[in-house]
């Protein structure tokens, strides 16, 4: 079995307090779902900001792989390749 690709999670400013101030975190994961599992195991506080109790990505967050919104790909089952940048961004909503 080949090793999972290493990707970079870009952490938005308001969430850096939940991962020791890190702006980027390297994760070995072949899909977004696998990356979230990894975060749940190793970055629980950060994970709780991204996913609700059911494990779903919070409703008002958009997830991007590089510049692509994963709603146009395969959602959390989108495949990741080495060097990808994964970003969770608050949707532009509210006032």
């Amino acid at each position: 079995m080949s090793a999972a690709p290493v990707i970079t999670l870009h952490v938005v400013g308001p969430l850096r307090a939940y991962c020791g101030g890190a702006a980027r975190i390297s994760i070995a994961a072949g899909t977004i779902r696998a990356a979230l599992l990894e975060l749940e195991r190793n970055q629980a506080a950060l994970y709780r900001n991204l996913c609700d109790e059911t494990g779903a990505v919070r409703r008002h967050l958009n997830v991007f792989v590089n510049s692509d919104n994963v709603r146009d790909l395969e959602g959390v089952d989108t495949t990741l390749t080495a060097g990808d940048v994964l970003t969770f961004l608050p949707a532009v909503s509210g006032g």
């Binding site: 609700d52 109790e53 779903a56 919070r58 967050l61 608050p90």
Partner: protein, 370 residues
């Protein structure tokens, strides 16, 4: 240190704290804390060293509980926030109420979707209370306009009263282990059956320690003109119980509208109760002229208190937790508006004055003397 009056103000853009000397001539404002995130519930817990709690309800990053141990000069997140067990299938959407529990550190918390949580350690850990959260009715409750929220928690020894919109009034007589719907006399306007067992849109419930059997309720009124199935339902909006919430009767006669959100009891007189009637269709001040209405005989009759309020062109809403009263000898009311004004009603509401006129929309105001 001389007595200080402390207000916690939950707004759409964070929590503010205002402090004044006992005379309450002017308040110094601190904040916002939890900046940019709605705060629907606050609590000043003065068991031991005072703590100020606030629910920080981010639509993006989820729910947090903030705690201040320096009277609102700074806030930190508690170690955890309420959360449903993963296998439950529900996800927390909002935190609507925070109340003190037993002992020195227990907290109770009502959330959306309507459920109850309890913390034994001042908010650092939480457990769901299954007697109401998994009640056989729980999956049948429906959200009101504000969501499916548990907004009222009243503890009275082994009795616990809960207010749920839209679920109704639930009563426990065993300290919160089990609950039953207790809505006899509480009307609903949005269902063919005017008096269902449960499912009423209760807006707020209040009581006084000197009259523990008596409860006051602001229910979702405004159904006097309903002509559909079940017929009109006048005056179902403001109610009173004299038997610990087993039965309820209307005390709305004499009010300009039986629709409103908050209901508040005078700290030194269980017969004196305050409501803020609103127009049903707009949820705003009748005729654009804000007024608090006061009864000094337990709802037998009502008088209008409007001195100092604008006489016209004011169309704000006062939300369910945005009116409160302090416990000083001549108590003052505090009224927060959706237009970001915080009003003080001195001498029990005889004369109103605007303390702050440009805060974010106000969801919640609590007061204590520390």
């Amino acid at each position: 240190m001389a007595d200080r009056v402390l207000l916690s103000i939950g707004t759409r853009k964070g929590v503010f704290v205002a402090e004044a000397a006992k005379a309450r001539r002017s308040f110094a404002l601190r904040g916002p804390f939890g900046t940019g995130v709605p705060v629907y519930s606050t609590l000043v817990d003065h068991r031991g060293a005072a703590r100020v709690y606030a629910s920080s309800c981010s639509p993006f990053f989820g729910m947090k509980i903030l705690c201040s141990t320096d009277l609102g000069k700074s806030f930190k997140e508690t170690k955890s926030a309420p959360a449903f067990p993963k296998e439950d299938g529900r996800a927390l959407a909002n935190i609507w109420s925070l109340e003190v529990g037993a002992g020195k550190k227990e907290l109770w918390c009502g959330v959306e979707p309507a459920s109850l949580f309890r913390s034994p350690d001042g908010g650092d850990s939480w457990e769901m209370v299954p007697g109401i959260s998994n009640h056989e009715h729980a999956r049948k409750w429906e959200p009101g306009a504000g969501g499916l929220c548990m907004h009222t928690i009243i503890r009275d020894g082994n009795r616990v009263h809960l207010g749920i919109s839209t679920g109704g009034h639930y009563l426990s007589e065993d300290g919160g282990r089990t609950f039953r719907a207790s809505n006899k006399g509480v009307g609903a306007g949005f269902a063919p059956d005017p008096y269902p067992e449960f499912g009423q849109c209760v807006h707020k419930i209040a009581r006084h320690d000197d009259a523990p059997g008596r409860l006051y309720m602001q229910n979702h009124g405004g159904w006097a003109d309903w002509t559909g199935p079940g017929g009109p339902r006048p005056n179902i909006g403001v109610l009173r119980s004299d038997d610990y919430g087993l039965t309820w009767r209307s005390i709305a006669a004499g009010l300009p509208s039986d629709f409103g959100f908050p209901i508040v009891v005078h700290p030194h007189d269980a017969d004196t109760v305050y409501v803020m009637p609103l127009e049903t269709a707009t949820r705003s001040c009748p005729g654009g002229a804000p007024a608090v209405w006061r009864s000094e005989n337990g709802g037998g009759s009502w008088s209008r208190l409007a001195r100092g309020f604008p006489k016209k062109e004011s169309y704000f809403t006062v939300q369910r937790d945005a009116m409160t009263i302090d416990a000083l000898k001549a108590p003052a009311l505090y009224v927060g508006t959706t237009t970001g004004q915080l009003w003080i009603g001195r001498d029990g509401g005889e004369s109103f004055e605007c303390l702050f006129d440009s805060l974010p929309p106000i969801h919640n105001v609590k007061v204590t003397v520390v």
